[in-house]
Symmetry: C2
Subunit: 343 residues, 2 copies
DNA sequence: AGGCCCAATGTTAGCGCTCACACTAGCTAT
DNA sequence: ATAGCTAGTGTGAGCGCTAACATTGGGCCT
């Protein structure tokens, strides 16, 4: 009674049964072709593929997920994806996941604590993801993972070591050490540090890297100045530094704080790098265009995302996989660092 | 034979059948409770809820999606989520979606053209999403949507008008006009413009807003300087501006280009705002800490995300919903703009 | 008291796919 | 020739849920 469908794609989307009928096989054979089972004769496979093309058939991944228990989807729990670091990490993970044939569901937290992290993981799990990456730069986020008792595979990124799940991160200590060593090698007697907030794992590790280098070479260890990643805090702490005449080199825990500091110094008539050398951290795209261009530490988030994804996929497959992934950062020297002024 | 399960959550996750058995009802009744159907007696409902709690039962959304054809999941196609604008838009959409009870799958494009956009939409659709938001700031992305023939609901964001699908965006012309008017009102004779790349819709609209204001007041219309959003391009175009002594006011199409310009001017010994006033666009978090703090146009991405989501949800429900959502931006005056120098 | 209705529940049939197995040829080995 | 293989295919069942219909048992009308 119904007219023959001239444009099959306009009707109810084709299902396996339709393909099977057109190709003159059973739907199981279609399924075999789709999952490239070796047990299909070459010409049968061709016939099925032709039918698939003709009907513009696309497998229903929801049905497949229900039948197999695998959704080919990964979850990412993240926090403030407006910041350069988290945004880049998310992008890196997402790219790697797509390349591996996985879709990505994200869940951005307003605040990072045990409850929100666990709830987000649970929610993603309920949504059917095969595994979850948690971008947990705050200590609270890492702690939450300790109490994780779920059947879903989880890896953490940018978090401190954790005994129960794999962790991928960029080597913050190495980066901070490189920044500090760079300044010392230019001839500075010591290096001051604008730190990030103390509940951020990365802030603490940058402090540790900075401190360990100073201690190793026997340089005096100045009191650290505690900021909160914002340019504002760098600006305000700049005031403190201005009151200490012997400061010649500063390592800021991120580029934004370095920017705030730059501005404060400029307002006070102090010239960078002539009077003071500054190193940042992150290498945000703007850093090369600060006044002066900022020497900083570049992190390869693409690599981080990819490698953390491999760890997760291994877990999903039931293999052990790496438990600890560390990506090395890189010092980028620009115009904000020179030898200290002669006195 | 098997030991009684002391900790039910350690065993195979409970399904509706288990809950039904424990509550002494059929699984259909459990389903009714879950979908709060009114046709369940209060005490039955209580019994079911108790069983759900006791077994830590969580509905399997994949199975539900298969049965209903609805996955309560949305897709977002985006492009370079490392940029402040797209990242913020994505975050806004994601928050709004979660508040509405939807999960979000993202697909980040390497490049934006007809093929990639359509492929990404198709892929999300195959993944079972109920609707898709396309963040399509490039003209190529918008064009792709014109050829969209799919059964999935789609809205575009940050794109130009489109006859077939709803579009949400921030009113770029209004923002650019506000920036230009602000400079003129300070007494500048005219305003120069560092534009964004010409394949970006937003860049073109900002040009249009700038041009229309100049024309409306009869101010001379300077040749526009074409950049590419990067601080580098702002820096390079700064060279051109330096060669034109009569320039007193510049409207940069984004904050990064303004930053590059700031640096170039500073190198040349020109002081902002004394010699030259500058307005940016976006209000990135760093803008308040440039040297000097940047007058700019703030965009409310959270609002944008929410409203574009409502448009999408309406479409999914089969209602018409808004076809055009426009969010007004806001001028933020800081230290980079003052009256022109007396000559 | 008989019929009727409605509220509350149960039953049946899928959603579109994959898994485990059963079957049919056409071979080889004995 | 007969059993025994294997490559290729088909059949049944079921993943966990919802939608539509079927059933039950009061309460109310006349």
């Amino acid at each position: 009674m119904t007219a023959p469908q001239l444009r099959p794609e306009k009707r109810r989307p084709a299902v396996m049964e339709d393909v099977a009928r057109l190709a003159g096989v059973s739907y199981q054979t279609v399924s075999r072709v789709l999952n490239d089972s070796p047990k299909v004769r070459a010409d049968t496979r061709e016939r099925v593929l032709a039918a698939i093309r003709q009907l513009d058939y696309r497998p229903n991944s929801v049905a497949r997920a229900l039948a197999t228990g695998r959704s080919k989807t990964l979850g990412v729990v993240s926090f403030d994806t407006t910041l350069y670091g988290p945004a880049s990490t998310l992008l890196g993970i997402e790219r790697a996941a797509h390349d591996a044939g996985y879709g990505v569901s994200v869940s951005s937290l307003h605040s990072l604590n045990r409850g929100t992290v666990l709830a987000a993981i649970q929610q993603l799990r309920d949504q059917g993801v095969d595994g979850v990456v948690v971008i947990a730069p705050l200590r609270a986020g890492v702690d939450a993972l300790r109490h994780l008792r779920t059947d879903v595979a989880v890896v953490a990124v940018a978090a401190g070591p954790n005994e129960s799940i794999p962790v991928a991160s960029i080597d913050q200590m190495a980066g901070a050490a490189a920044a500090t060593r760079h300044l010392l090698s230019l001839g500075h007697k010591t290096v001051w540090h604008l730190a990030g907030p103390n509940d951020w794992k990365e802030a603490e590790e940058r402090i540790e890297g900075w401190r360990s280098v100073l201690q190793a070479v026997g340089a005096p260890l100045p009191a650290l100045l505690r900021g909160d990643w914002t340019a504002r805090s760098g600006y305000e702490l700049g005031q403190n530094l201005l009151e200490i005449p012997e400061v010649t080199a500063v390592f800021a825990a991120n580029d934004q704080m370095a920017l705030g500091l730059l501005r404060r110094l400029h307002e006070a008539g102090r010239e960078v790098p002539r009077d003071l050398s500054i190193v940042g951290f992150d290498d945000i795209p703007e850093a090369a265009y600060f006044t002066p261009p900022l020497t900083t530490i570049r992190q390869d988030f693409t690599d981080l995302g990819r490698r953390c994804l491999y760890a997760l996929l291994a877990r999903i497959e039931g293999e052990a996989g790496p438990t600890r992934v560390v990506v090395a950062p890189e010092l980028v020297v620009r115009g904000s660092t020179v030898a200290p002024p002669k006195r």
